[in-house]
Amino acid sequence: MRQSSRHTSYFAFLGHRLSGLALALFLPFHFLVLGLALDQGNRLDDFLKWSDQPLVKMAEWGLVGLLAIHLAFGLRLLMLEYLPWVGQRKHLVWLGGGFAAIAGVLFLIRAF
């Protein structure tokens, strides 16, 4: 990363972009599993049992984190571009990061 890019707003951009790419990679697998419900209900049940393992739950936690980051920083972008805006409003970045962290913790509490 260039030295001139090391600032809060840039990290928000990176968070939004990288979480979006990771979610895009995940989506085909998501639809593949959902597709099992149509004609392979038994395989879907087996998969859901398998997904109760702690390691898979941790992976799900990562997924929830990515979703929260993408949602928060996406909303930030919409606010910056569609609300009357003066300055970089860096507090939105911290709010977004905080929201993602809280969502992650809540998921972990409910998962275990």
């Binding site: 260039r2 001139s4 890019s5 707003s9 571009e81 805006w85 970089q88």
Partner: protein, 236 residues
């Protein structure tokens, strides 16, 4: 004993290299002072630009320790790292020689973004009064003090990635014209700004606002253009 700064300066064109110089440190020394010292005392062949030396002309911008800056107002003690300075030409512009870059594309993009003022009055007409407190005038005033140093252009990742992107300075200028009630070329401005390589090419990294030496907010101007030309904006 005089403290010595180790200064590495880009020499040559695109394929040039960094050359090292030893420069005595002084109180309240600016980066431009350092470059000038090297040219006057160590290497008369060094090519660089400057004019006003007081932060008005925008001609002395360079990359200092990886960050684009106006060198006449950048104090060495604020940016040197362990007594070291690495001074390179501005990024995203072709190097002519040493610290001098070709600024032509930068100014051509001002034109491309519709940055030329068009009026309908002549000097014979009565001057139209503009309320200095009107919303449009306040928005224009907030964007108008650009010194064309190209620091924002040099720091912009989108300019680096896309040759056709007009960049933050040109769009900041377009935003000031959008709000200029005397500008008659609004239709042309809209077409230029909305074209490919215009405001919608910006990814809102905000490096421009972060690095602007006169504290303008080009990222805010670009966002305002996007909003104004969207279905939620007051279209001119």
């Amino acid at each position: 004993m005089t403290k010595i700064l180790t200064v590495k300066i880009w020499r040559g064109g695109k394929d040039g290299t960094l050359e090292s110089y030893s420069v005595p440190a002084r109180k309240s020394q600016t980066v431009l002072d350092v470059v000038t010292y090297i040219q006057r005392h160590l290497d008369a062949d060094l090519s660089y630009r400057f004019a006003c030396r007081v932060g008005m002309c925008g001609s002395c911008a360079m990359t200092v320790n990886g960050v684009p800056r106006w060198t006449c107002r950048t104090h060495v003690d604020k940016v040197s790292q362990d007594g070291q300075l690495i001074i390179e030409p501005l990024k995203n512009l072709e190097i002519i020689r040493d610290l001098t870059t070709d600024m032509v594309p930068f100014f051509e993009k001002w034109e491309k973004a519709g940055g030329r003022f068009e009026g309908k009055q002549s000097r014979a007409d009565k001057i139209t009064a503009i309320d200095p407190d009107s919303k449009k005038r306040l928005a224009a005033s907030a964007a108008i003090e650009c010194i064309n140093c190209a620091v924002c252009y040099s720091g912009c990742d989108t300019v680096r990635a896309r040759d056709d992107y007009v960049g933050p300075a040109a769009l900041n200028r377009a935003w000031s014209l959008f709000n200029d009630e005397k500008h008659t070329g609004q239709r042309k401005l809209k077409k230029s700004v909305k074209a490919d390589g215009g405001c919608y090419t910006c990814h809102t990294h905000a490096n421009c606002s972060q690095s602007c030496p006169v504290d303008l907010d080009p990222a805010g101007s670009i966002a305002s253009l996007k909003r104004s030309y969207s279905m939620f904006g007051s279209r001119s």
